[in-house]
């Protein structure tokens, strides 16, 4: 399946917005492991994923054409 990756803050400096073709990944935990292998800088950072319009709180199934956001700790205000 194909998913859309979007990234923010510090993470946007080394992971560009991109479409990702994934075959053996069906949930957010598996995606995290995949991302940390593909982008080693990510494995040393605190970050959260969003899936479509929700922040991922626990392992969640991913579907074709989903949008996954990779977000470092927030620093608004």
């Amino acid at each position: 399946m194909e998913i859309q990756i979007i990234s923010f803050g510090k993470i946007s400096e080394f992971i560009a917005h991109q479409k990702l073709e994934i075959s053996d990944i069906s949930n957010t935990d598996e995606l995290k492991a995949y991302l940390e292998t593909s982008f080693p800088l990510l494995s040393n950072m605190k970050y959260k994923l969003s899936l479509n319009k929700d922040i991922v709180q626990e392992n969640t199934a991913i579907s074709n054409q989903d949008t996954v956001g990779i977000m470092p700790p927030f620093s608004g205000g």
């Binding site: 803050g9 470092p72 700790p73 927030f74 620093s75 205000g77």
Partner: protein, 146 residues
């Protein structure tokens, strides 16, 4: 049920005249007895000998507005407020300029004060907004909320 998600984002700094106008608009609401206002201002921090010239704010806007809508609903349920206004800047805001404006009003002072403080805390912790501190020599680092 009607569900209206308000936009909180303003491109660029929040003008003091915008804040003044917002205050004066409330003079017609005569059941209000107390307002509380919080304004966030970009601080010229010194980090390892370099001075912060500005903060560039970006956000995951769709998600941030959805989250702010939930916070707004929680706050209205918890406190007897007449109104609540929240504005946050996007883009480059120079040191000394206002980047956040939270304004709550109630019949008596306490709900306005407590709600205002709670909104600021929740907004900093829960909204996907990022600040990039830009130093005077054009290098940068990403801000982290404490």
């Amino acid at each position: 049920m009607e569900r209206k998600v308000k936009n909180i984002f303003i491109n660029g700094r929040i003008e003091p005249t915008f804040i003044a106008d917002s205050i004066s608009k409330h003079s017609a609401k005569t059941t209000i007895g107390g307002h509380s206002i919080f304004m966030g201002q970009v601080r010229k921090d010194e980090i390892e000998g370099k001075l912060v010239a500005a903060i560039e704010y970006t956000a995951y806007q769709e998600l941030a507005l959805e989250k702010m809508h939930q916070i707004r609903e929680d706050i209205f349920q918890k406190y007897p407020l007449h109104c609540m206004h929240v504005y946050h800047s996007l883009g480059t805001i120079k040191a000394g300029e206002i980047c956040l404006f939270v304004f709550t009003s109630s019949t008596r002072r306490k709900p306005a004060i407590d709600a205002c403080a709670e909104i600021v805390e929740r907004l900093k912790a829960e909204l996907p907004i990022w600040g990039k501190e830009i130093f005077e020599d054009d290098t940068h680092q990403w801000k982290e909320n404490s």
